[in-house]
């Protein structure tokens, strides 16, 4: 249980403070500021104990959110709650920034009132919360009958995440496969670790209580079906997969939104659910095998004497030539005693940023199977510091229009038995976005 929730700006000024339990005093607000935000050394742990009170904090840009408790609570749960709160706030007013928080502080107090009661998490689904939050301030007498009945159906409904009687003129759904690919590569080009963490986010605008079924190229499912057809057609070649054209992927582990019937997934590995209205995260998964690494970074660093470094970095795009990667940014770290840098690059723009100790090379677009190169001469100031330069890794950011894990959506079927629209009437959109997570190559 959470005793209090505080939000600070980067200077440590309190923007929001809400205390839920007697045992948390006003002085707790100051204790956190003094001990954590104003502390000289870097943050030691996201959980801090001050005078036997535990402070759990997360940071979003330069905003600190802290949950405070005196009880022995589950750390993972508290952090999850803080994340959830960030999500809810973001759903209401976008980015969590000082300005947004100041402008929406009434709304935030309202939210805090609904999400937590006496320190216990209550309703935290953005969709369901919308009924209770009166951002514009609706007069209670003028509230329409319809809205009132909505509240009752919402609060008595068996399915906590969807209210009844939703109607849309156009039944539409959007599926986003969002992946972040993480890589740690040795200077010799050996993959030290790579994984993809992905999310399938669904935005549904569907009437009634639709039953959905989602299918993807999960290895286990494909093999199962492959066996089925193989049994029917020819038993002689059971090894030949029926879907030889399609590749399947091995998912290390996956988790689903509460609405997915887990029993069905366990028994037949089919994903069926009644979706919440609006945007939600259908599933979250992780793969580590056969990852398509969209870019390969080949660094070459040569120290010429004590006052000069020569750096050459080649990046190679490794995907279909018809696809375009966007927002490519390569960050090449430079030593602290750099005095000047000359950069030559074939494509894009490169700049030495002294404040960040790095050369930042930006390319707007790059097609697959291409190669680009940057070379830089770094002048160093002579120092008597014996410390060797630690050579931080070269990191990369990008966005590609495919899923680096190889995941493909095979179908998403919608059934609504009570209303008269069928699977064919639903307009469906699927989009794949692969982004870089921590994508580093050591040099």
């Amino acid at each position: 249980m959470i005793g209090g929730l505080f939000i600070y700006n980067h200077k440590g000024e309190v923007l929001i403070s809400r205390v839920y339990r007697d045992d948390i005093g006003r002085n707790a607000v100051d204790a956190f500021r003094v001990n954590v935000i104003h502390a000289r050394q870097q943050v030691r742990s996201p959980v801090t104990n001050i005078a036997r009170t535990s402070f759990f904090h997360v940071k979003r840009s330069n905003i600190w959110l802290a949950a405070v408790t005196k009880q022995n609570v589950n750390a993972a749960m508290v952090f999850e709650f803080l994340y959830k709160m960030c999500d809810v706030m973001a759903a209401y007013f976008g980015k969590i920034s000082e300005e947004n928080i100041k402008n929406n502080f009434v709304l935030i107090y309202e939210l805090l009132d609904e999400i937590l009661d006496f320190g216990y998490p209550q309703n935290s689904e953005t969709g369901a919360l919308k009924t209770f939050i009166t951002q514009q301030g609706i007069k209670s007498q003028h509230q329409t009958k319809e809205e009132q009945s909505q509240i009752t159906s919402q609060v008595t409904g068996q399915i906590g995440w969807r209210r009844e009687g939703i109607k849309y003129r156009r039944n539409e759904l959007f599926l986003d496969v969002l992946e972040s690919v993480n890589l740690l590569m040795s200077p010799q080009g050996q993959v030290l670790s790579a994984h993809v963490s992905g999310r399938v986010v669904m935005k549904s605008y569907l009437s009634g209580m639709p039953e959905c079924k989602f299918g993807m190229n999960d290895k286990i499912v494909i093999e199962k079906q492959g066996k089925g057809t193989a049994d029917e057609t020819s038993k002689r070649r059971p090894s030949a997969p029926a879907h030889s054209g399609k590749q399947s992927i091995a998912i290390d582990d996956c988790t689903f939104h509460q609405c997915v019937r887990l029993s069905k997934f366990d028994s037949e590995r089919s994903i069926s659910f009644i979706p919440p209205d609006g945007e939600f995260e259908l599933m979250r998964y992780r793969t580590t095998k056969d990852i398509i690494l969209p870019f390969r970074v080949i660094p070459l660093v040569r120290e010429v004497g004590r006052t000069k470094l020569e750096v050459k970095v080649v990046i190679k795009s490794n995907f279909k030539p018809s696809l375009l990667a966007q927002k490519i940014e390569v960050r090449i770290p430079t030593p602290l005693n750099t005095s000047g840098v000359q950069v030559i690059c074939m494509k894009g723009k490169a700049k030495y940023k002294a404040s960040e100790n790095a050369i930042v090379w930006k390319i707007k677009r790059m097609a697959g199977m291409k190669e680009s190169q940057i070379s830089a001469e770094i002048e160093l100031l002579p120092t008597n510091d014996k410390k060797k330069w630690a050579r931080p890794p070269i990191s990369m950011n990008f966005e590609v229009p495919f899923a680096p894990s190889g995941l493909k959506v095979r179908y998403l079927k919608v059934f609504e038995p009570k209303l008269n629209y069928s699977d064919h009437d639903v307009i469906k959109w699927v989009r794949y976005i692969g982004r870089s997570g921590i994508y580093e190559t050591r040099c």
Binding site: M1, V14, I16, D22, D23, G25, R26, N27, V29, V34, N35, V43, R44, P46, N49, I50, A51, R52, F56, H57, V58, N72, V73, N74, A75, A76, E80, L82, F105, V106, Y109, D113, F118, Y120, P121, Q122, S124, F132, G137, I138, K139, S140, Q148, T152, V155, S180, N182, S193, S197, D252, D253, T255, Q258, S263, R286, K386, A390, P392, S395, G437
Partner: protein, 739 residues
């Protein structure tokens, strides 16, 4: 803490709130109220406009209502009489046709923390429990717990408890979970809510319908249930199997704990469960949510204590990435150190070696200590890496490597030869106390194998006058005497000089005494010295003991998914020791009447006042403000009632200390700034009988001791003892936080 200059603001707002023009304009009125809340958030004392705010609560504007209720919940304890005026509006709202308004009013009414409110809220709560809207029921159920909290320790209302038990069958999942929470608080004295077979089975069936918070909570409550038969046990486990794969890491951990505890008699089931959650845990460890990742890593370490091989094949997952925050890197290094085996040792060491040259000195040192830990099993490889590190000639690296060597030689004598070869030359790169001590110790104990040992020690003897750390001088005395036994010719002269210095010139008592002790020992004859000083040079059995620290799963299962693994076992022990004693709300003056009067004094101190069981109980009054002059006068007029020393390492952070003292209602009159030598602080406190406690804290960093002197204006030993134990607790906690 009220800031200066709040009077003007209050005056202005008061005027605005009572301005009829503003009151007529809904938006402007709301804006003024918003300003009040904003000032309240910043810590200004806004209780001055309470009356006006009460008036503002009679409105149809829900936003305004919400804001006013928030205000009232904050200041009601300060203005209980005025708050009663608002009850009327609240009661009316409790029967509004709109369930949202009903819920809001009931929730706010229950949150008013002031005496006398109980009689007004009882009926609305009972009505709320039977409300047809589950939104109101949710609020009412928690309201029961709030009401009980207000009552303090009064007896439990049986009818209410029965009603809550029956609401466990409510349709709405949140009502069910709230019932559990509420019952738990109400029945705290009797050991919490009872989970019998029907309730347990009911909860198990409702699990899939609950949201993640509810699931985690119910899993926690189910820990209490003891299945009757093995069959039932396995039925439950099968039912809950899916939750080990939940999308919420919190639920996964909760389910894991439940499995571990329910299956405490079936080790194979426990192992199986840990294998099952490997995936989710690893996913959490590599997730972008760093704080969650940190929590998961702490639990991975916990599991590794019992099953060292558990994550060995996934060692690459624990390689640090450059941009990760410090705390994750440190955890990962610890994990790496623990999952090493024959197959991955090469790669792990290679990786750790990379970290040793990290720009962050802290992280580099952690990596070196980790290599030292691995060296207990894979000695040769590690010693080679450590030796190479010495070649970098970096101060912060060398000192840690030498410390690692010292520990290693003690545990694994087979590496002595290699260490002795690596040592020459190190002395140039060590400046800090710990590193010097380690080096001197090594030179003393293994000096006969290091050719230039006497000359290195001679340098230290030459510079002993400018040496700042007494511990180094002590170590130097012992080491030189040891070396004298094995290489008398080279050492005799400088030993004489060192003893002379220590006895004649040294100002530190401990060092001087040690010098005198060795001098007298030498007078007793060389054989006697040998008998006393030549102890074994290593103790491999200690290492074996440490390796066997593989603890059974059951030893930590009950700590899993709590704060214990996050803080680490040792720190948690000190934190939780006093957790029970911390039930007072130290802020909010005037709340004393219903703040649970739990003992502020830890258990052990009670023994001192045993003749009069309760006279030792001490309540310090908040806001006892003495002027510095008055303090000074009183201080000089009184005699010291109690004096003691308290172990203390390093410097003091005055802000932290002041903050902590305030929590227990001790005021700081004056305090030296951080880092002053000697460091002093004067504190004052007053208990509810008017007895004054004046305290002086004196810290001499060299002795790593804090001297506490307490004066009291009425000679009463019991309260004095309690006071001192409270003070000790605070100092102890602050000391722990720093170290």
């Amino acid at each position: 803490m009220p800031y200066l200059g709040s009077e003007d603001v209050v005056k202005e707002l008061k005027k605005a709130l009572s301005n009829p023009h503003i009151q007529a304009d809904r938006l402007r009125y709301r804006n003024v109220i918003q300003r009040v809340i904003r000032h309240m958030t910043q810590g200004l004392d806004m209780s001055g406009v309470f009356m006006e705010m009460v008036k503002a609560s009679a409105t149809v504007d829900i936003v305004q209502k919400k804001l006013v209720y928030l205000y009232m919940c904050t200041y009601a304890p300060l203005k209980p009489d005025l708050a009663l005026l608002a009850i009327n509006t609240l009661c009316k709202d409790c029967s509004d046709p709109n369930p949202m308004v009903r819920g809001l009013a009931l929730r706010s009414m229950c949150s008013l923390r002031m005496p006398g409110v109980q009689e007004y809220i009882q009926q609305p709560i009972l009505n709320g429990l039977r409300d047809k809207a589950s939104y109101v029921r949710r609020v009412a159920v928690l309201g029961c717990a709030k009401m009980h909290n207000l009552h303090g320790d009064s007896e439990v209302d049986g009818a209410l408890v029965n009603e809550l038990y029956s609401l466990l069958r409510d349709q709405d999942p949140i009502v069910v979970v709230n019932c559990l929470r509420s019952l738990e608080e109400i029945l705290k004295q009797e050991g919490g809510v009872v989970i019998n077979k029907p309730i347990a089975h009911h909860l198990l069936n409702r699990m899939p319908k609950l949201d993640q918070w509810g699931q985690a909570e119910v899993l926690n409550f189910l820990l209490r249930y003891q299945p009757r038969s093995e069959e039932e046990l396995f039925d439950i486990l099968n039912l809950l199997d899916g939750f080990l794969k939940s999308s919420s890491p919190g639920v996964v951990m909760g389910a894991t704990k439940l499995f571990l505890i329910l299956a405490n008699k079936f080790p194979h089931v426990q192992t199986d469960v840990l294998v099952q959650v490997k995936g989710p845990l690893l996913a959490a460890c590599s997730s972008e949510s760093r704080e969650l990742c940190f929590a998961a890593l702490c639990h991975v370490r916990q599991i590794l204590h019992s099953l060292p091989g558990h994550f060995s094949s996934h060692y690459k997952k624990f390689f640090c990435s450059y941009s990760e925050p410090h705390y994750i890197k440190l955890q990962k290094v610890e994990v790496l150190c623990e999952l090493v085996n024959d197959e991955n040792v090469q790669q792990v060491l290679e990786e750790l070696r990379g970290y040793c040259t990290d720009v962050s000195a802290d992280f580099a040192q952690a990596a070196i200590f980790a290599i030292g830990g691995i060296a207990r099993t894979y000695t040769d490889q590690c010693v080679q890496i450590l030796t190479e590190l010495l070649g970098l000639r970096q101060e912060h690296i060398t000192t840690v490597v030498v410390q690692t060597f010292r520990d290693l030689v003690w545990l694994c004598p087979q590496c002595t030869e290699a260490v002795c070869q690596a040592l020459p030359g190190c002395e140039e790169n060590i400046q800090d106390s710990e590193g010097k001590q380690a080096l001197i110790w090594l030179l003393g104990v293994h000096g006969e194998r290091i050719p230039n040992a006497p000359y290195v020690l001679e340098d230290f003897v030459e510079n002993v006058k400018s040496e700042t750390f007494p511990a180094v001088k002590m170590e130097l005395l012992t080491a030189l005497l040891r070396l004298f036994l094995s290489r008398p010719a080279e050492c005799q002269d400088m030993l004489g000089r060192l003893l002379h210095y220590c006895i004649e010139e040294e100002k530190d008592m401990a060092v001087r005494d040690r010098g005198l002790f060795y001098y007298r020992l030498l007078l007793a004859g060389i054989d006697e010295v040998k008998r006393v000083l030549c102890s074994p040079k290593s103790d491999p059995s200690l290492g074996l003991l440490e390796d066997q620290a593989e603890r059974p799963v059951n030893s930590w299962a009950s700590d899993f998914n709590t704060l214990a693994p996050v803080y680490g076992k040792a720190r948690w022990a000190t934190i939780s020791k006093y957790q029970g004693a911390e039930r007072r709300g130290p802020e909010l003056p005037n709340t004393a009447s219903f703040a649970t009067s739990g003992p502020l004094i830890p258990e052990e101190s009670k023994e001192t006042g045993q003749e009069l069981p309760d006279s030792g109980a001490l309540t310090l009054v908040p806001n006892c403000q003495l002027t510095a002059e008055y303090f000074e006068k009183t201080w000089f007029s009184l005699k010291v009632a109690h004096q003691q020393v308290f172990p203390w390492r390093g410097a003091v952070h005055p802000d932290t200390l002041q903050m902590a003292l305030q929590v227990v209602n001790m005021q700081t009159i004056a305090m030296s700034r951080a880092g002053a030598h000697p460091w002093k602080a004067y504190l004052s406190a007053q208990d509810d009988t008017g007895c004054l406690f004046l305290t002086e804290l004196l810290l001499e960093p060299e002795n790593s001791e804090m001297q506490i002197s307490v004066k009291q204006n009425e000679p009463r030993t019991e309260t004095l003892n309690s006071f001192i134990s409270v003070l000790e607790t605070v100092l102890g906690t602050i000391g722990d936080i720093k170290s």
